[in-house]
Amino acid sequence: MSPVNKSEHGLSRRNYWRSLEQLENSPEFQRWAQAEFPEGLSEVISPVTRRSFLSLMGASMALAGLSGCIRRPEEHILPYSKAPEDIIPGIPNFYATAYPHSGFGVGVVVESHEGRPTKIEGNPQHPFSLGATDVFTQASVLNLYDPDRLTSYVSGGQAITRSAFVDQLRSKVSELKTRQGAGLRFLSGLSTSPTLEALSAQLSQSLPQAVWHTYEPVSLENAVAGGHLAFGQAVIPTYQLDKADVILALDCDFMGTEPGSVLYGRQWSRRRGNDGASTPTNRLYAVEGIFSITGAMADHRLRLPSSHVDGFIRALGAQLSSQGLSLPSELQMALEPHRTHPFDARWVSALSAELLAARGKSVIMVGSAQPASVHALAHALNASLENVGQSVQYSPAPIGVASVANPDTGLTGLVAALRQNQVETLVILGGNPGYDAPADLELATLIKNVPTSIRLGSHQDETALACKLVVPQSHYLEMWSDVRALDGTASIVQPLIEPLYDSMSELELLSHFVDGASNRGYELVRAQWQTALGTLDFEKRWRRMLHEGVIADVAAPPVQVVLNGASIGAGLAQKEMPQLSLQNLELRFVTDARVFDGRFANNGWLQELPDPMTKLTWDNAALISPRTARELAVKRGDMVSLKYRDRTLEMPVWPMPGMADYVVAVSLGYGRTHSGRIGTGTGFNAYLLRDSSAPYFDAGLVSTRTGGTHLLATSQEHGSMENRPLVLEATVDEYQKNPRFAQEAVEHPPLRSVFTEHEYVGQQWGMTINLNVCTGCSTCVVACQAENNIPVVGKERVLRGREMHWIRIDRYFAGDEETAEAVQQPMMCQQCQNAPCEPVCPVAATVHSRDGGLNDMVYNRCIGTRYCSNNCPFKVRRFNFFNYHEDFTEIEKMQQNPDVTVRMRGVMEKCTYCLQRINSARRQMKLSGAARIPDGTITPACAQACPVDAIVFGDVNDPESRVSRLKARDMNYALLAELNVKPRTSYLARLRNPNPELG
């Protein structure tokens, strides 16, 4: 630990504190460090084999141009025999499709090289993408090439052919037909596919007795139920945050894991000085128990256990009505007793004052974890604040969502049936209920007892193992389907590639039950839309919807809603807030920011992606507030046994600043037992504690220290900024008083070089990163990894500090550890004009380019002295300590971007501003004979994926370019400018917009 104590520095406005612990000193790190290949995950890299060593040598000789003495090995060119249309080798194609994420569609445009989908981009036409994506969408392409995917049909553990399976299925179906489908049950994940709905409708014709159950581990059922309470109809709220001056997020991580995060993040950012006004014009209040990225971006954040949010919104409601907001009378009555409340009165009153002031221009958002009553009350308040129709809208909830909430068609209904052995045939479409169903239902064991169980899944996973028949499921890039977005906007899901294995899609499997015929997905989907849209010039519209990826003019119009005060009031029946204490902790289940609910457990990119807030990789941990940690006498990595009801789970703790006290947050999706080479055995399975009666949070948890410890790999050990001017921030007032605060913070004497510096003419590339909107969601990190063939290195190498991500998102904590604030700063190669890495390289492997003026890293020239990295003030260079690409399977190789060199062992690499994209733009320019590349033509992968549009790239020599205009802003500053390295990347200082009342 460094001895510098806070008081010593006066550099910065806020006193920054140190990281909670230094892993270095912990004994088990020492022990671990002794072992060269320590236990832990070793699935990623195996030691170098002789073959590859020789190939390296070969390669190197080739590099040296000394391949001579022996004739070079014969290589073959295999042209097409019959050339496919519109594929020009060497030129990628882009196709629009949609990624169904837990039921809801995100429109995407997929880059395909010679028929191999390699990279996912957002579809600008799609309302819930607007050209950006979230981490899951970015990473979804890797699942296609997951080497652990199920490659064949399985019957009772034996691999069988597709036809064999189809025969079995046919006979089964005809048998079921005879008894109207009695005893037939379907269990699927949430699906909003119109075609699927149509099929299941037909199903209820052909097999009337069959019952369809829907289960999603994390979904909108509470919101919908809340809608029912409030309006008596199944609706989903959608928001227009760019119309809101005041946003209240109640336990709602709408920039992170909540549905629609991409759109909401973008809308929110539009009012944070991203475009137009340079200062924030909205104010975000967050009330939450965990420390989410939304909370980190909030102007005011109230730490509150999830179980107290109910009480809080009641108190707020009461306050609002007392300040003159007219509510339905029953509701007003119900809220009456809550005029007195245990919460910070100033906070509540200031908030309600603002909400009232901003009628029609405010939003109250409630997280999916909160019970229906809270949602209902939020709906009511939004309605009363005249926000509905303005910043809040309601769209009809798809059947699926409704049925999740409905006990009969939900999981509980199925379990009941299973327990009474009413189920003869169970068809499980997608999902992984065998793993992620609440523990009290013991679903996996129940499934085993079903005579005929058919499982459509991509892996031989926990569910598949419980089933008799297993059908390989097609990845969404392999299949025809369709999907709706939150607001009902429909998109066609079209395949980018023939199924790699002889797999089926949900639709294809289902069609067997409908008419016994094995229809191809294409026919099903096309037929569905032909009936929906009518045959009138359908062909043209069909092509258009495929091309655009969005089916225009079929989105259902917003639902008109009428408040039902009585039922809301009823929902607010007197309920005591639990008194939390060490003996009565709150157990909070969190959707994981990386593996979501576990469906991404076998995705290396996401496993190695540091959690946006904890920076934890390859694991999940029990997050608790530092104070709670002290009271429990545990420190980072100590194993505790969590006892909830009659179940216990052992997992390591991670003290997390800014968390509510006496809350234990565990993220779902880890501890998979049958996931694959990546996901199996990483982290700890929180579902084992989950109870169907309280799926999201509940009091009554007891935590006891086991004495054991667990090594947690984090990508950032040190959380304090050490009072250095790295992330600069101010409040709007401070900024208006002194607009140059940022430049002044990095004030330094006039910088002169002893040399006359080079003059960079023509188009010169630069970048700005707007810290005002950057949420740290880490989508850019994954996008970069996908675009640039960045390897996954594995847990033990992350522990060694050898992660390869070109973008590191630095997260620093501020304030005291209770009411901690967090700031995020994406850190990649700053493309210094006077790059310190260049002169130290003995072989000129990293030099500056004249056109573009970028810091080129020439892999094939690098001999690997690592001197450049040592001399990099930003430490953004990454060294290939081993040959990380060596044991890539042929399947995995298919994902790699042919326009980016795959780096061998022993060379340095770093962010290139996506040189391949710059070069292809320049190529276009040359071919077209144009003089310059228009602004906005080039978008690096990180900028393109960014949901909040925080990263802007362009020509810094062109004063009119967007990046130049941003650099001209007075809150623009270059990091470590005093070194005179002249970074081409600069940052826009962060502005907070606190309520003067609470200042």
């Binding site: 630990m1 460094s2 001895p3 510098v4 230094q22 270095e24 000193n25 790190f29 020492q30 460090a33 060269e36 030691p47 170098v48 060593f53 040598m57 190197s60 000789m61 040296a64 141009g65 950032q716 050990e717 040190h718 304090s720 050490e722 009072n723 250095r724 790295l726 500090g801 050898r802 590191r808 630095d810 620093y812 700063q825 850190m827 310190p836 002169p839 130290v840 003995p842 072989v843 000129a844 020239r861 690098c862 001999i863 690997g864 002295t865 690592r866 001197y867 990295s869 040592n870 001399n871 003030p873 430490k875 990454r878 060294f879 290939n880 081993f882 040959n883 022993g906 340095m908 470590l976």
Partner: protein, 465 residues
């Protein structure tokens, strides 16, 4: 007469003790090489060559598997590798320094120790070269650092301190080798003329190049030797200056320090003398050279260590002063972190061994006690190794952005490699003492009183001072 005695009273202890004539010197030195090999030698040689082969294995494993077998990570790109490099180069300084600088200053006391010291220099440089050579990620293309015309039309980057190293160290190695060999020629001739078997005679004869003591040769020889000494002096100073540039030229706080060149040179001489002392103390015990390598030699070396040790101590203090005086928060932090951070244990080991312990040499009794000086000399080498480690590791593990801070722990591979380099060093040194005269015979004869053809002059004394 009285004046005579007065002067003789002022004379320092003789450089060669006991009644010696030319032949006894020849006998004493040559007999070591001619006598049957002592069993102890075989034992030591077995151990040393064992370690050396371990070095080979480690390097093979490294090249085969990748730099990942070392404990390095993202912020800390250099660890034991470069530490060992600087450490060995430093040790390699005493030899040429003793030969060259002391020669120029007519310090005749150097004669009986310079040969061994030069040999040690060569072997240390050999060990040093291993580390920068093998620390690169793709050693099979390391030759790109040499300005060889090639089909890529590429050239090395002459602005890189690493390239300066390549030139400095290889020049230093070459020149030291020549210097050493030139000094050896007349003595090898002596061995040739004493050889009793034809093979020996042939081998030494070949090495002696047919040297026949001709004064017309001595004439050029002395001039060449003197000029070599003159050239080596700036060279020896330049080498560690340039090694220090590896750090001084960078921008990293704790590295970017202008005091480095003198500070590194002082440190190098410091560690170099320590190593020479360690070896000579052993040699004179084993081979009965007490009359040639006298207490006066040892004491002089101890004085030099005391001086250079104090210089190094001054440099440490000055670094801290400047860090504070510069008011640069990054600098300031790095140095406070050195003394009290995660690596403070290394820092305080360094300070104790390099600054505090050598102060014992203020006392004559300790300065002239063989066991004491032996222990201290070893401690000094430990301390100097830690100095390099501290400079490299502590500066890298806490630089500008706290987000990238980390900690570095070596793996067994690095440790074994380091031990192996010692094996190589001692293996070479043992071969040297076995087969070559470890004392410069001709030179020692030259400083005998009887060697002076004009005994009536005071020159002898004048020169002996």
């Amino acid at each position: 007469m009285s004046q005579e005695s007065a002067v003789s009273a002022l004379e320092p202890a003789p450089l060669v003790e006991g009644p010696q004539d030319f032949n006894t010197i020849t006998e004493k030195v040559c007999s070591i090489v001619e006598a049957p090999t002592p069993l102890a030698w075989y034992v030591f040689f077995a151990i040393a060559s064992g370690c050396a082969s371990m070095l080979l294995f480690m390097l093979g494993y490294l090249v085969w598997t990748g730099i990942g077998v070392w404990g390095l990570n993202n912020p800390i790109g250099w660890g034991w590798d470069i530490t060992n490099f600087v450490f060995w180069i430093g040790i390699g300084h005493a030899g040429t320094l003793i030969s060259a600088i002391l020669f120029l200053f007519r310090q005749k006391w150097r004669t009986s120790i310079n040969r061994a010291a030069e040999a040690m220099t060569l072997f240390a440089v050999a060990c040093a070269l291993i580390f920068p050579g093998f620390h690169v990620g793709r050693i099979w293309v390391a030759y790109w650092m040499a300005p060889i015309p090639n089909q890529m039309g590429m050239w090395p980057n002459f602005r890189s301190p690493l390239l300066w190293d390549v030139f400095a160290v290889s020049t230093y190695g070459t020149v030291s080798l020549l210097f050493w060999y030139v000094g050896l020629v007349p003595d090898v001739a002596t061995l040739r003329d004493r050889a009793t078997s034809r093979i020996r005679a042939m081998v030494y004869g070949a090495l002696a190049l047919g040297w026949r003591g001709s004064n017309r040769h001595w004439h050029n020889y002395e001039k060449a030797y003197m000029l070599l000494a003159g050239l080596s002096t700036p060279l020896v100073l330049s080498v560690h200056t340039i090694v220090s540039f590896d750090f001084a030229v960078s921008v990293i706080p704790g590295w970017h320090t202008t005091i480095f060149p003198p500070y590194f040179v002082a440190g190098a001489i410091f560690s170099g003398f320590a190593m020479v002392l360690t070896l000579l103390v052993l040699c004179r015990q084993f081979f009965g050279l007490k009359e040639l390598i006298t207490m006066r030699h040892l004491e002089n070396m101890n004085k030099i260590m005391l001086a250079t040790g104090s210089m190094v101590g001054y440099a440490y203090a000055m670094e801290f002063f400047i860090a504070w005086y510069s008011a640069n928060p990054y600098e300031k932090f790095v140095f406070i972190n050195r003394a009290f951070g995660d690596y403070s244990w290394a820092y305080w080991t360094m300070v104790t061994c390099n600054v505090i312990i050598p102060q014992l040499f203020w006392f004559r009794s300790l300065r002239t006690s063989i066991p004491v000086m032996f222990v201290i000399s070893i401690l000094i080498n430990v301390g100097m190794w830690f100095e390099r480690f501290v400079i490299i590791a502590t500066s890298l593990h806490r630089d500008f952005l706290p987000s990238s801070w980390a900690y570095y722990t070596p793996t067994w591979v690095e440790m074994c490699t380091f031990i192996g380099s010692f094996g190589l060093f001692f293996m070479l040194f043992l071969l040297f003492v076995r087969f070559l005269p470890m004392v410069a015979i001709a030179e020692v004869k030259g400083v005998l009183p009887t060697a002076n053809p004009h005994p009536d002059h005071r020159e002898l004394h004048a020169e002996a001072h």
